[in-house]
Symmetry: none
Subunit: 216 residues, 4 copies
DNA sequence: CATGAATGAGATTTCATTCAT
DNA sequence: AATGAATGAAATCTCATTCAT
């Protein structure tokens, strides 16, 4: 942060790698594969290549470490999802195709490694850190719903969707996408072939458009 | 069996009969409020009113205890859900009303104490016990989807729904119900007023019927 | 003990197998393969085919069980050894051959399954049950030494060995036999080929006779 | 390292240096008086003046602790025995006296506190750690036998013993020494008076020399 | 700032032993 | 006499966290 401007200095001759970032990355990785309780600080420190007290110096305690690691991952996942939703800003002539494309991209994000780990950790710790979970939920699902609602509102105003409550429409579109995927991937334990993912996206959009498409 | 008829005679000089059930109940309660790792067998034993080794005598180890407690809870939740789905066997004249009624009942089950705890534990341990989770998932969500698909197939044949893939329709109806509820209850951390629950059910059914209702 | 006179009724149509004997046998077997502390009463009961409390009914506690099991095994081993020593009662013309034969037989006993297990258990528990160990030691090694000393005294009187302290001679003969065997069998962990065992016996007797043989 | 020079400064604010050695010493002491299974790490930690996890930090687990403690004790005992055997390098004119002196010294070592404890532990755990026991056996008995054989070979070459297999001679001399001592000390449970120890040594050497002394 | 070493607390599990039938 | 069920006690080991350098 001091010298280099690239926060994760790709291949740049990074002078001092940010230990803090290394710790957070390692923490998310370890939390993801072990869960919160089973993850031990020693393993995180090893994965980050630092000594245990260094972790405590930077992030005070295990809980804080978890909160920061989760927060960072949530931001990343959300950015990816919003990027996918942006696609709807320029729907082109074929709305159905644009929706399907957007939907498929979002599903890809949701099925990705990071999003799956984040979802598991989120659910797993909803009892232990309800406030954190709520924050994450709002910064991810909530934020995505809003972005989607914005797009749908524009489309409705433009007459390309029938008049509707855009928040509700967005909520239902998301549900039609993620619900079946969770079921088919068995909560993320089995990989879903790309073709099936695409089929889920298309079925969701078809149903959505029958319900929300412009009236004949 | 001879003298005492109290099935759970607290401190009665005979404690042979339903110790196992008491342990399983206590286990689910403790797992539900502490999570798998934080739950300790001592607490479960205390809650069940038995000594710690008794727990081990009956259920071998913590993992086995967890599996049985989860399995039992899953069966209970499923039975409740199937009972709600049965409502669709006699839809009466007003299909929309019947669907909304069924939907609302299922949401009530899903938002109940036990179902919420089961959902949390399921997600939380999907990394640790993938096989168990898969089983639970199939015995609950999967089974419910099938039951629902059966009903929808009948309705479709009867011309009260347009021709469709009943499995897909059931999957999407379930998604339209549970997805929004998860979002609004913040993964189950906040109570959703009955009115809002009903609204979710109605919106889901309305959307569903626009997509799957009989063609004009 | 009541009806049948065969204490371990070989193939006889044993009316009531002696549970007590079955327990003692099982106990020795389990103690032998697990050691005293690692042997658990449950396993002994299983091996004996009875329930755990039955073991306690018959033998009061684990310590008592151990004492009786060890005692019985010691008696058996001792009987075998004494039988071998008896051979010296009729030495025949060739004393050297008679001694070698006796020595070899005793080594066979000492290397047998039971004697080895007994030796291990004895040493292992010498700290925990010093009195028992002392008893066993006297009933086995001590008793054998005396028997041997008797034979050697006769031989000495008969002029077939030079005048000597027969107790000391017996002690040293035993030492020349068992010491090298313990070393070569690595305390009983590796099998010693019969040829090597015989060589040990012969070397012991040769040395013994050079020291105690009749003066030229 | 800067302020305190006391190598084991009891409660000094620095305890970094010889904790490991203190733990190993304490471990051998506790194992010696309790046996492997009955020794508990808590007691070892207390005896060493450290906290329980410190024991685990330094030696990983109870088994490893045992192996190291035994190994160290074996080395010490062996060094003492080899020092005694060295005596034979300068036998002087009176071979018999030199042998008796050496023999007595070795018996003193063998009857010492540490050697007795080592022997008990060795036998007791021969079932549980056969590889360790074998190692110990070779590093002690085996090594001593070789050293002794070397001395005897020299003496034989010098004509002070008759031509013989020195390994066998050493083996038998050791047996003549330790065998009777084990019997008389009842496996180490009772103290043998110095006079009796000396008598055993002399008897062993006398017998040995009659068998292996120079031919008249 | 980074670290090696140390520790207090607590979890799972096993075992010998005893009731009550 | 024999047993299924229950229990008090204890042991191994792990972890989050803190000194002192």
């Amino acid at each position: 942060m001091t010298a280099a401007t690239t926060p994760s200095g790709r291949t740049a001759p990074r002078g001092r790698i940010d230990k803090r970032q290394a710790i957070l990355d390692a923490a998310f990785a370890v939390f993801a594969r072990r869960g919160y309780e089973n993850a031990c600080v020693r393993e995180i420190a090893e994965e980050a290549g630092v000594a245990k007290p260094t972790v405590y110096n930077h992030l005070r305690d295990k809980e804080n470490l978890f909160r920061h690691a989760i927060g960072a991952a949530a931001d990343t996942v959300m950015a990816e999802n919003l990027a996918a939703a942006e696609r709807l800003r320029t729907p082109g002539d074929d709305l159905r195709a644009a929706l399907k494309d957007t939907a498929y991209r979002m599903l890809q994000v949701c099925c990705g490694e990071r999003a799956r780990a984040l979802r598991w950790l989120t659910y797993a710790q909803v009892g232990g850190f309800p406030d954190l979970i709520e924050t994450v939920q709002e910064r991810t699902h909530g934020r995505l719903g809003e972005a989607l609602a914005d797009r749908l509102a524009r489309l409705s105003l433009a007459g390309r969707l029938r008049p509707c409550d855009p928040a509700l429409a967005a909520e239902q579109l998301l549900a039609l996408l993620t619900g079946p995927m969770e079921a088919r991937s068995r909560l993320g334990t089995r990989a879903v072939p790309a073709a099936e993912t695409r089929a889920v996206a298309e079925a969701a959009v078809d149903t959505f458009l029958r319900a929300y498409g412009p009236t004949a």
